[in-house]
Subunit: 372 residues, 2 copies
């Protein structure tokens, strides 16, 4: 162990009677048996971590709250390992470098990464995705339009959905952080964009803010299939599916030959425990066969090597005013579990963010003083 | 109308007291309410048709009996118009030109087309797919390996399944007319071919005749998923799906990342009436999402402009001895409905054919003599 680390430890030992600098973390206490509940999480305090050689200390500013978190805490087969019990909840974050022993980062740098639900994190850079340039727009855009949501919308729609000018693109969770960008990219590409969302307020948001050609409130429609038919006079060529379930069943009744369905999320399908069979629904086989349609699972992580291409295009559209976004921000690390429930219930009115600490950038607080 | 036609008619009028030359047809009497039954069909007799200018008279030699016929007689949305009530059952056929007023066809020519369940048919060429050259192999191969079954296997596997050397390809109805060719092409392309079929005899046929690396009898396996797991140690990259239903549900549990599912048939999914919802089953969304897999409907008719390419390749493999086939032949036009039930029950032991008439090629029987 390098000498200064030992010195640091020695200093801490000497100062033993003073309150240690603390880190608050929200850790996963248990896996969901049925739905996700707040009591699966627990706020714990531990000593603030100290960066070693090649590491940085990051002060977490904002948390991104995402529907995918439901999968991250489940033990069921998934594309990423489940969050370990007792570990801080995995989360995309916007943070600020407070101390750096890493050549690529300096104190004050804003970083987009996966620092989790905590006040402070140490990183060797592996869980930092990129530095954020405030010149690109509001810094929180790094957590949605210019972050994973935007990259998901970009590659999911363009690489898997492959919309062609004049086609009809239907989007579920149309007002959501991903859906709203999908709809806007579809419009930029000359498609008819039709949104499915879950409240009258979100229908208005889809039409007035995000510019969908048509939008439906699936909770208010007695016959969603008929409403879709009316909203899509030329039927459906691309379906960006963030829900699965009954909403998608209705969409499958209106596919054009050669339609493409991008399976991006499954919020409309109930959770099941590990080893349990998936929930049942109408079999899609004949609809896919008759339309010679394609239904394809999409995971943005597969496309991260090309993330720069998407961010460049998205920030270009953002600067041109062709991409709009909405944020729904709550304050305080401790608000994170409730914010997640809000997202899973579809009750948020924009990209759900938790503002952990947005005091002006500056050096880390002195170590020997506990926060709060 | 050309003079000789009128003369012909005149001759028939003069011979009015003699029995008119007859055509037997099996027509569709009613649409299936639940499953397909023999009493949906009816044998009727009518005057043998007379070819007009630009038309040929075809004597039907063999009928191809195919699972897709279930869809053709249903009124539900489909990729081809339903067979009209009262019309001869639609069918691929091997026929012989008996008379020709068409510049491209001469008496004695063998033709692969869609002449339907009848002894005689008149055609302007639109429902003739190609002439059959006996030098290419047994002429009945035009109805399977070198016909729609082979073309289906070829494009479905290679264009939609896109197998790569060393991958594992699973085929349902593996001993069937399409499946057996899919398995053999998979082997030719250097893949591990695993067949799912419905009897011990067909398992043996898969292993001994068609050369599958492994084959399973889904009716005999208490745990099909576990059996598949054992037969596919490297999991599954391509699934050529002729069934849907519980067999396919089991396959979906073992997909490799990036797997491709070719939806070619839905024999494992019960029929429903028009407007009724499809049968339910486990939702595939999460399996497709986690594996980033693709499930795509495939209809061979979309690929017919390139049929020549497939037939050339398939007949090359056939001549090389790399493609084997099995036939299950019954005699007599009147046996067609029972043959269809046999296919839908999976009881056939090779490509199901009806031999309508295979008397040696020659001129049409004289008109004034009725057959039988």
């Amino acid at each position: 162990m390098p000498a200064f680390c030992c010195a640091s430890q020695l200093f801490a030992d000497i100062m033993g009677s003073m309150p240690a600098p603390l880190n608050r973390q929200i850790v996963l206490k248990a896996r969901p048996a049925g739905g996700v509940t707040a009591d699966l999480f627990e706020l714990v305090e531990s000593p603030r971590p100290v960066p070693g050689p090649g590491e940085v200390l990051i002060r977490v500013r904002y948390l991104s709250i995402d529907p995918a978190m439901r999968g991250w805490i489940s033990a069921a087969a998934n594309y990423s390992a489940p969050v370990p019990i007792g570990a801080p909840m995995r989360s995309f974050t916007l943070g600020e470098v407070a101390e750096s022993n890493h050549p690529n980062y300096a104190p004050g740098d804003l970083v987009y990464g996966r620092q989790g639900w905590q006040d402070w994190a140490v990183s060797d850079g592996a869980d930092i995705d990129r530095k954020v340039d405030p010149a690109d727009g509001p810094v929180t855009a790094a957590l949605h339009v210019l972050g994973l949501n935007g990259i998901t919308a970009y590659f999911g729609l363009l690489e898997v959905g492959k919309p062609k000018q004049g086609e009809t693109v239907v989007v579920s969770t149309a007002a959501g952080a991903v859906g709203s960008i999908v709809g806007q990219i579809a419009k930029i590409r000359g498609c008819r964009a039709v949104g499915i969302t879950g409240s009258a307020a979100k229908v208005r948001q889809c039409l007035d803010e995000f510019g969908y050609h048509a939008a439906l409130d699936y909770r208010a429609e007695a016959d969603l299939s008929a409403a879709l038919s009316a909203a899509c006079p030329d039927r459906i060529d691309v379906y960006f599916d963030n829900t699965g379930g009954p909403i998608s069943d209705a969409v499958l009744e209106h596919l054009n030959p050669g339609a493409r369905i991008v399976i991006c999320g499954t919020m409309g399908i109930p959770d099941v425990g590990p080893g349990e069979p998936p929930p049942v629904g109408p079999r899609p086989n004949r609809a896919l066969l008759v339309a010679r349609a394609r239904m394809q699972g999409f995971l943005v992580l597969d496309h991260m090597p090309r993330a720069g291409e998407a961010v460049a295009k998205l920030s270009h559209w953002l600067r041109e005013g062709r991409l709009r976004f909405a944020e729904d921000i709550v304050d305080g690390l401790e608000a994170a579990p409730a914010a997640l429930l809000r997202v899973l219930a579809g009750a948020n009115t924009g990209k759900m963010l938790v503002r952990v600490d947005d005091t002006p950038a500056g050096p880390a607080p002195p170590r020997a003083v506990s926060r709060k």
